[in-house]
């Protein structure tokens, strides 16, 4: 997923305006590390079967599915398989990683 599509919430500079006593953090790609390395099963989307209902996009707990292209960001996808489970068209297959 391209960084341009990410909504800018608050910048690391913006967070510095708070006094250091407040444990404030902000949403950003990769805040939890490269979670893609946890993956055993890789979701593969068959675009021909896909009806673009966006259920996978809604259910993805890591927000790694792009809303427009439905491309999956494998750097952060943990391979949980929720997208494949929810897909009404069975367009997502979970393939074992090598």
């Amino acid at each position: 997923m391209s960084q341009e599509n990410k909504k800018e919430y608050i910048s690391p500079e913006g967070i510095k305006k708070y006094p250091p006593i407040y444990p404030v953090s902000y949403p950003m790609a990769g805040a939890g590390g490269n979670t893609g390395t946890w993956r055993n099963l890789r979701p593969a989307l068959d675009h021909d079967k896909c009806s673009k209902c966006l259920l996978c996009w809604i259910y993805c707990p890591e927000a790694v599915i792009d809303r427009d292209s439905l491309e999956i960001d494998y750097q952060y996808c943990k391979g949980c398989g929720i997208c494949a489970e929810e897909c009404p068209k069975k367009a997502i297959e979970m393939i074992r990683e090598d």
Binding site: Y9, I10, I15, Y18, P19, P20, I21, Y22, P23, V24, S25, Y26, P27
Partner: protein, 372 residues
Amino acid sequence: MRTILDKGTHIVAQAVKNAKVDVVAAYPITPQTAIVEALSSMIEKGEMNCRFLPVEGEHSTMAACAAASAMGARTFTATASQGLLYMHEVLHMVAGCRFPVVMANVNRAVFAPWTLWVDHQDSLAQRDTGWIQYYCSSLQETYNTLIQAFRVAENIKLPVMVNLDGFILSHCTMSVDVLDQETVDKFLPPFQPEWKLDPQNPTAYASVTPSNEYSQFRALLAQDEQKAKEVIVRAAEEYKELTGMWDGDLLDFYRCEDAEVFVLAMGSMASELRLSIDMLRQEGIKAGVIRLRVYRPFPEESISAALPDGSTLVVLDRNYDFGMHGGILFNECKASLYDRGGKIKVLNQVMGIGGVDITYQDMAASIKALLA
């Protein structure tokens, strides 16, 4: 200013009303119940512009207070005994999150066996949560301290617990001078935190933090616990300038000027103790009272400064320090005076457990027996 005659629970509610609290979350427990009943009734009648959250238990009470405070609301709750113990986990969280929640705790001894009456075991068991703890000796002081508590909490960004003895203060009727709303507003401007939850500008808060950063937050918390001492003193002094009322700052002294024997206690028994001191003075014992008004942060420097070399400190504890000899205040006083090289004799009596009545004669007799 007007003088009213009412019981302790209603005086607490009056102070909370005057403090213009935005959110009250609470679960009833004896002897606190009448506080939240009074607040609930005032909110229902529209006398307070405040949201009342009736929750299913004290753990949720404090969680609701944390969330309300994170939204920038001035937040209050009240509890006692088992309710306070049930909150314990969330007390740590609220202090660590730097939410300035204010809570009235009506001191009641803890289970087992079941009891309803006062001692200080419930709140002293919350010592290491990071909460500031006041102990009041009269209803006027309870009112004054609650107003000061919001000021202190919001200034240093730490939660404050205001303790009053169950039944002896909570259900006793006394006359109290209640401030005009304009005077309270002058002392207590609206709560304006530098950070609060903002849906337009979302941030996460206090999520999993790497060790180095975590230890920095905890070090700042420890530093600010110490800094709170000067904030507490300043609040008491400015309150006195505005209202003429004074209940002491970290400590409150009685007949200590020429004393050789100092008696330290807290809560309502420390008020009664003045009569014991007058009695001892008549018998030729030069005694005075050091009333501990703030237990956390512990005023070690002020206690040490009040005691000349060669003097005796008698500590009266309404609690047990299980596994140590004597009570909790006794052991904390001994630790505070360690640097004095044994030049101050420290003696201890545990009394009044589970609401056993303490008269001034009892305390005078105990002090004399310890000195003998």
